[in-house]
């Protein structure tokens, strides 16, 4: 196993910059998820690490070796592809044996390693089948086996679960996580599904538009998003982002909505706003941090329920505030109907404040 370091990595295609100055360190044995919307540069980054495409500038190190110009086969990596990329003309056995044959291992050692990998992944009975005779989940497992059999320094996984149906995806998610724990493997895992990243990874690197937005543990990314993009991308349903007007008078700092209502900020939050020069502040709140009442509450903001979506154990209510859609979760027992007047209170301890111009999080110190 080895650590991976990206330093100022850049990849351009003609005028288009796919990966823009990305730097991050993946420690030995860490599971890192590269996450972001499609076209954000996450798969390109992975392909750069794999050596499948040449880098424009910057450095990639695997272990203590700079591998910028090293051929993929000499980087000591294994990769699992979104469509599995199993060799269709080879049996499962031969698919697993191929990377070992390429390394010119003795025949009996290849046989031993293939059978061991098949046993670990519980697919000994599939060894003589061709890929097209396997189900999606089985193919996925073979692809994983082909990576595993090599005992590489780093595993690269490119959306390995996105071709599976929802139920199988959840099951494979825990299998891959288990696989990581057992092997203490270094894994770089690309996904567009933030839930996969949050549930599986030790650290997540959120990317957008070719830039690395935030690189931290899932809890940190969830609780302390550095900007509005990360805040809205991580968490489901998305964090509500409400554009407001900040004003200070008599030592009080107040945020005012389009409809005329206002919130007085706590001293801690007020300091955040005062430290910045902007008057345009965006308030971010996750659905669970907003309290909803069906009767007037002093200091609460009046609004109207727009849609009501019961999901079973939680009911989501949406309302419009200051031109933004606000998500609120309520117990399914609470009687709320569309168009009904509601009153909302924001939890000052758990609210996020962003600069409306730069979209960056406002900090108190």
């Amino acid at each position: 196993m080895a650590h991976v370091v990206l330093r100022n990595l850049v990849k351009t295609y003609g005028p288009h910059t796919a990966v823009n100055n990305v730097s991050l360190t993946v420690n030995d044995g860490e599971f890192v998820a590269l996450v972001g919307p499609s076209g954000c540069g996450k798969t390109t980054t992975l392909n750069l690490v794999a050596g499948l495409i040449p880098i424009t500038s910057g450095d990639i190190s695997i272990g203590d070796r700079v591998v910028n110009d090293v051929d993929p086969k000499n980087r000591d990596i294994a990769m699992v592809f979104q469509n599995y990329a199993l060799y269709p003309q080879k049996t499962v056995y031969k698919n697993l044996a191929f990377p070992l044959q390429m390394r010119r291992l003795p025949r009996d050692e290849i046989d031993r390693k293939v059978k061991e990998a098949a046993r670990v992944l519980d697919m000994t009975h599939l060894l003589e089948r061709k890929p097209r005779e396997l189900s999606g989940g089985q193919q996925q497992r073979v692809a994983l086996g082909r990576a595993l059999v090599r005992d590489p320094a780093v595993f690269l996984m490119d959306e390995p679960l996105s071709n599976l149906d929802a139920k199988l995806r959840v099951q494979m998610r825990s299998e891959i996580k288990r696989f990581h724990q057992d092997l203490e493997a270094t894994i770089i895992y690309v996904t567009h599904d933030q839930l996969e990243a949050v549930t599986m990874a030790d650290k997540m690197a959120v990317m957008n538009g070719g830039f690395l937005q935030q690189y931290d543990s899932p809890a940190q990314v969830f609780n302390h998003p550095v900007n509005m993009f990360v805040a809205s991308f991580i968490g489901s349903p998305a964090m509500s982002l409400i554009p407001l007007e900040a004003s200070s008078a008599n030592g009080r700092t107040v945020l005012t909505g389009e409809e005329g209502w206002s919130i007085e900020l706590s001293p801690h939050n007020a300091r955040k706003v005062e430290r910045s020069t902007t008057k345009k502040v965006v308030l971010g709140a996750r659905h669970s941090t907003i309290k909803l009442s069906t009767s007037p509450v002093p200091g609460a903001i009046p609004a109207k329920a727009y849609t009501v979506e019961p999901t079973g154990d939680i009911t989501f209510v949406q309302a419009l505030l200051s031109g933004a859609v606000v998500n609120i979760s309520v117990p399914p027992t609470m009687p709320v109907a569309p168009d009904q007047p509601i009153w909302l209170e924001f939890d000052q301890e758990r609210m996020h404040l962003f600069d409306g111009a730069t979209e960056m999080a406002l900090e108190a110190d």
Partner: protein
């Protein structure tokens, strides 16, 4: 250049050019190895002859002289050609030959492709039989049809006589008025299977759902052909017609073997005429000038050919 300035440059580069062509060619030099064998062979066998033909078209080569002792005559060859009656006769023949053959082969190919486009017993066998004329050699086909058209013992003549349609067997390929149509029948016999194969493949790309939707919407067979099937066949049809037209324009074997261009030039088309000028009468200069004129016509056709092909390519990328 430091990294910082490089990054600062990045947005500006959006309007500027990509890395220089030579630079990219050098970066990708290994890729050229894959195409190199093809290119080398092409250059030897294609580029040189084209150059040589153009050069020769400005010279005259009297049969008494060696080819290398050619005499420069400027554009004389061209003016000679354009003012000769034979040229216009041959050009008219070429266009009749190309247009009628292409149209007939396409229509018959489309008809068979449509008729074969549903399951029935013996469909595979029938399709295989219909393709055979396209596979066998044009030389064999020419002799078979020459025998069928034979003015004394030809089978068609015999049938016509025994049915009482004519008194004696007609001279299909020995008469100025019937020779070209008779040869076109042979050419179409050999070519319609090609159109059939192309269009059968094209028909497979027509989505079943769309045909079913058309039927639900109340379209009859003709309407669903016209509104659903035919639009899907447009790309294939263009390519097929162009390929047919090009190969008809370049036809040689059938007229050459069956009539040698006769009687009295009635079945000479461009290529047979050029061949006779060059190899029959040793008039290389005139033949080359003919070839250059042919080039020009082909390049015009070629322009549409490439446009149609790249259009097809764009479509399946999109």
């Amino acid at each position: 250049m430091t990294l910082a300035t490089r990054l600062a440059d990045a947005p500006l580069r959006e309007n500027s050019k990509e890395p220089g062509v030579l630079q990219r060619a050098w970066i990708n030099r290994a890729d050229y190895l894959y195409v190199l064998p093809s290119i080398v062979v092409m250059l030897i066998v294609i580029a040189y002859p084209i150059y040589y033909t153009i050069e020769l078209s400005f010279f005259t080569t009297p049969p008494s002289l060696q080819l290398r002792d050619k005499i420069f005559v400027g554009l004389d060859n061209y003016s000679l050609i354009l003012t000769s009656d034979v040229f216009w006769r041959v050009t008219a023949n070429t266009f009749i030959w190309t247009i009628v053959s292409t149209f007939a082969a396409f229509v018959l190919g489309l008809g068979t492709a449509l008729a074969l486009n549903h399951e029935f017993v013996g469909r595979g066998v029938l399709r295989a039989i219909l393709i055979i004329p396209w596979v066998i050699s044009a030389v064999a086909a020419s002799y078979i049809w020459k025998w069928i058209y034979h003015s004394n013992f030809g089978v068609i003549g015999a049938v016509l006589v025994s049915l009482g349609i004519t008194d004696r067997p007609p001279n299909f390929i020995d008469s100025v008025s019937t020779v070209l149509p008779s040869l076109i029948v042979v050419n179409v016999w050999r070519e319609f299977p090609f159109a059939m194969i192309m269009l059968m493949a094209g028909l497979q790309t027509v989505p079943d759902q769309l045909l079913r939707a058309a039927r639900v919407d109340g379209a009859n067979a003709w309407q669903s052909f016209w509104h659903v099937t035919f639009p899907h066949l447009q790309g294939v049809s263009t390519v097929t017609i162009l390929l047919l037209a090009v190969s008809n324009f370049n036809s040689f074997i059938i007229p050459w073997i069956m009539t040698g261009g006769g009687p009295s030039n009635a079945s000479h088309i461009w290529i047979t005429h050029i061949y006779e000028l060059a190899f029959g009468r040793q008039r290389w200069g005139i033949a080359s000038a003919y070839s250059v004129l042919l080039f020009i016509i082909m390049m015009t056709l070629g322009y549409f050919y490439v446009r149609a092909l790249s259009g097809a390519e764009r479509k399946d990328r999109g």
